[in-house]
């Protein structure tokens, strides 16, 4: 029989205001096995933990139940307290009487009754707990960063600086990411390329950093400290070692009709290309889909003109398998597709553009060489309208419920830059709210309004209608003056919402990292563990976790790096002991469990057993506890109950069910 101690926390008034804590103590004390029950203001405090410590020692407790907040909050705290008092940390169960009880119920009697039942269930469970020992696993001292944008580059640099090997896997032919597409950055208006390029160079030159561009993560297995990752290096068709980056091949390539992704399709590129001038590596890629040689077998111009002989048409995709201790996801974002927003005529008129497209138009290396002009007729615009929150803060299904966070600031930047360079252009901004929290942000916005005379109108645009004369008729509403607005514009710029990169779902699935309904990766705790994924060993950097601007991204990238470094600095990791375990006397070796195990943790051995006097060689399942993550899929697949999950055993769960239903 266990000797169980029950500790009921008031959590100040968080619990005690709706749950009669004394009553819970009194009722818990009547449960079988309970030899100690007490309450305290804050169980998680040092004094509270001291009470637990004292009771364990004085009463020789073999198990404890803490009735408090969610185990997701303080289970570790109380386990550690138990451990310090000499009790196995897995002899601790938490009854969640705060989030699941006091905070959601108003009636004290009901809430107290429920708290008693929750306590009972935890007591029933702990009665069946068995001491568990954590195992150890090794740590591969190498990190993988998925995504080579500013977030990924920064994370990689920080990890490398700490002395660990880092691999960056970037899907496109060059690192640099979204930031490389930007012209200027707010609120300082310094040139994006000027600050990014040195970072890119530094990363590529760093002896600890290895960059896989034009590559994708194909498969991830293993677990924290010991991931095995297959990386697909897509066939570049250009030998990285031989290529000198002279660029002749791109000039001579006869196939120049491919939309240029880097310029958001505003112009075209050759089939063999480097995305932009500062690309790293400065080695082109043959886009096989658009290359005449690959489509028809004829051409081969690039090979002919290449002095270095670097063109290799027969290159194949290559799979590199590498081991990592930590993985940082920095997959970044894209702007949403606007095909659902017909009212803004984005697909009808080339002069309705997104802010990112404007960014390319404004850039000296962009499709218009930095001249502000309409895409349709190359005329300089006189009137420009910016529309905010296109797809952000959106109630319907077309857009996103969240605020994309960066649009207010970049729109102010665009407006200011245009007014500065082209003072004769009228700039109007339609907005819902202007959100400028951030250092020097509001000042920046006010300069746009006050110094540069940008016309901000609070209100939404209902329709943008292309006119026969090439003008765009903008119908909006001014909410402050409460009037309809009808104005003609030469260009309309849409601040389209940003969304996580499309590939993130695939990557999250491979990593078993959770993802929210907007496809942003979920952090382990929204406040206290914002750069860690709930999946151990996986960290989050940049916009893949939520909308961010550059400084925030860089800050988070550094934070993710620190977390990864903290992990890589360890020699051994303690593993979760709540793993599946097979009873060799019950198992019949049918292999059903192995069929559902996502980790390949179950194997079979033939061994002699002694089953109550019957000695025979049997074929039965064995769980590799280093691979098992404790999901329990196998335990339900097993009809005889031979496979059970430690810490969440069949009998423990049934005891909880019984306690709740009685």
């Amino acid at each position: 029989m266990q000797r169980i101690g029950v500790f009921v926390c008031h959590c100040g008034s968080n619990i005690a205001a709706t749950v009669d804590v004394k009553k819970v103590v009194e009722m818990a004390a009547l449960e079988p096995g309970v030899v100690h029950a007490e309450d305290y203001q804050y169980m998680c405090s040092e004094a509270g933990q001291a009470k637990i410590d004292a009771a364990i020692k004085e009463k020789n407790l073999t198990g404890i139940v803490v009735c408090s907040c969610s185990p997701r909050m303080h289970e570790t705290t109380f386990r550690n307290a138990a451990k310090r008092a000499g009790l196995n940390p897995y002899m601790v169960e938490i009854a969640n009487i705060r989030e699941h009880c006091s905070w959601i119920h108003k009636n004290m009697e009901e809430a107290t009754k429920k708290a008693v039942i929750l306590a009972r269930a935890a007591i029933a469970k702990v009665s069946l707990n068995t001491p568990l020992q954590q195992g150890e696993s090794r740590v591969t001292k190498r990190a993988l960063v998925i995504g080579g944008g500013i977030a990924g580059i920064q994370t990689a640099l920080d990890i490398a600086e700490a002395g660990y090997e880092v691999d960056i896997v970037e899907k496109t032919p060059s690192i640099g990411g979204r930031m490389s597409q930007l012209d200027k950055t707010f609120p300082t208006l310094d040139c994006s390329a000027c600050i990014l390029t040195p970072k890119m160079v530094e990363a590529s030159a760093h002896e600890k950093i290895n960059i896989y561009t034009y590559s994708e993560v194909e498969k991830v297995s293993g677990f924290v400290g010991d991931f095995t990752v297959d990386i697909r290096k897509k066939a570049r068709s250009v030998n990285m070692d031989k290529c000198t980056g002279c660029g002749v091949c791109q000039e001579k390539c006869p196939s120049k009709k491919t939309p240029n992704e880097f310029n958001r399709g505003l112009n075209t590129r050759s089939a063999i290309y480097t995305p932009f001038a500062q690309a790293i590596p400065n080695v082109p890629v043959i886009d096989r889909e658009h290359c005449t040689k690959f489509k028809t077998g004829k051409c081969g111009v690039c090979a002919k003109v290449c002095q270095a002989g670097a063109i290799e048409y027969d290159q194949q995709d290559e799979i590199v398998t590498e081991k990592y201790g930590a993985i940082v996801v920095a997959t970044g974002f894209d702007v949403i597709k606007l095909d659902q927003y017909d009212e803004y005529a984005y697909s009808q008129s080339p002069d309705v553009i997104t802010s990112l497209e404007l960014e390319r138009i404004m850039n000296a290396a962009g499709p218009t060489k930095g001249h502000l002009e309409r895409i349709s007729d190359h005329k300089a615009p006189k009137n420009m309208v910016f529309i905010q929150c296109v797809g952000s803060r959106c109630a319907d299904k077309r857009g996103k419920s969240y605020c994309s966070k960066i649009c207010c600031m970049y729109t102010a930047k665009h407006a200011m830059l245009i007014r500065d360079k082209y003072p004769d252009v009228n700039v109007t901004v339609f907005y819902i709210d202007v959100r400028t929290p951030g250092k020097n942000f509001d000042e920046f916005y006010r300069r746009a309004v006050e110094e540069y005379g940008v016309n901000y109108i609070k209100g939404q645009v209902g329709k943008v209608a292309p006119q026969p004369n090439g003008q765009l008729l903008v119908q909006g509403v001014d909410l402050i003056d409460n009037k309809q607005i009808l104005m003609e514009a030469d260009m309309v710029v849409l601040a389209a919402a940003i969304e996580p990169n499309k590939d993130v779902r695939k990557i999250a699935t491979m990593l078993t990292a959770s993802i929210d309904t907007n496809n942003f990766l979920t952090e382990a705790h929204p406040k206290l563990r914002p750069v860690e994924s709930p999946t151990a060993g996986v960290f989050l950097s940049g916009v893949c976790q939520g909308p961010k601007d550059i400084p925030e991204t860089v800050a988070q990238a550094g934070a993710a790096a620190v977390k990864a470094i903290g992990l890589l600095a360890k020699d051994k990791l303690l593993t979760n002991p709540c793993t599946a375990k097979s009873d060799e006397l019950l198992c019949n070796g049918c292999s059903t469990c192995a069929n559902v195990c996502p980790y390949g943790a179950i194997s079979y051995i033939d061994k002699e057993v002694n089953d109550h006097g019957i000695r025979e060689t049997r074929h039965f399942a064995q769980v590799n506890s280093a691979l098992c993550q404790g999901c329990g899929a196998c335990t339900v697949a097993c009809p005889s109950g031979a496979m059970d999950l430690q810490g969440f055993s069949n009998r423990q769960i049934i005891a909880e069910v019984d306690a709740i239903c009685r």
Partner: protein
Amino acid sequence: MQELVTRAKELLADGTVVRVLGWKRGDLSYNPEPAYFNSQEELEQFVYDGFCGANLSKYMIEGSKKEGKTLVFLKPCDTYSFNQLIKEHRVDRDKAYIIGVGCRGKLDVEKIKAQGIKGIQNISGAGIEEDTDTLNIRTIYGDKTCTYGSAMLERCHVCKGKEHMIFDEEIGESKDTKDADRFAEIEKIEAMSPEEKFAFFQKELSKCIRCNACRNVCPACSCRKCVFDSNQFDSAQKANVDSFEEKMFHIIRAFHVAGRCTDCGECSRVCPQGIPLHLFNRKFIKDINELYGEYQAGADTESKGPLTSFTFEDAEPGIVVERR
């Protein structure tokens, strides 16, 4: 039948097998029993007729542990069970020499008795080679007849077919006995109101005596120790104390064999209380076919079972209500 005996003797004689697993003549005209034959003399007792309904696949779990090869006779439907047992590593293919035997439907003496035929002394027409549709029954109370079809086991009316899924050689012809839709009964119950369904099953299950015959005969129930015999779930019960227990037992038993049950019909055949246990298993089979695609357990030894696989687009559990 004599062909089977001759062949078995040959295989024993040439050392291909060291024993034969078949059926032994009973002491009444309808009660042959599964048996091992270790010699040519013992094979004189061998019988294979309409009353040899027993599926010998499960006996091969023990058979696989014996020294040397065992010759086992399997009817077409039995071979599905054998395959499933191979898939689950419960039998050793290399320890079995399988002769696929022909079948013209198996008989159920209860069905004969249900026709009011009592005091049976002899039944003729049940032999495997006999090409007759009539059973002539001599009883203490006079001579009676009934048709072969009317005495057939339920499973034979919904026969899966004449093909053996696995065999080393085939002997004998099979007959097409299928004359009913396998899911007709299920559909009938599905169409009932919840109250009618409940009453129907309550009545059927009230007969259950928890003898475990259905479980013990089932080739898919091959656990070393059933959950209902062990304390793993605190669910060990020996007898029905409350009507809930039979429900728990039969639901869980059917669930545990879902996706593994070949629909061999042994459970219904052996139930001493005539509970149509196939109604449970077949419900799962029907659901699996409808929701996850046609699946026949035991048709092969490789495929993943429906409960150990999934698709991203699987129906949500709410489908149960929606499709009503």
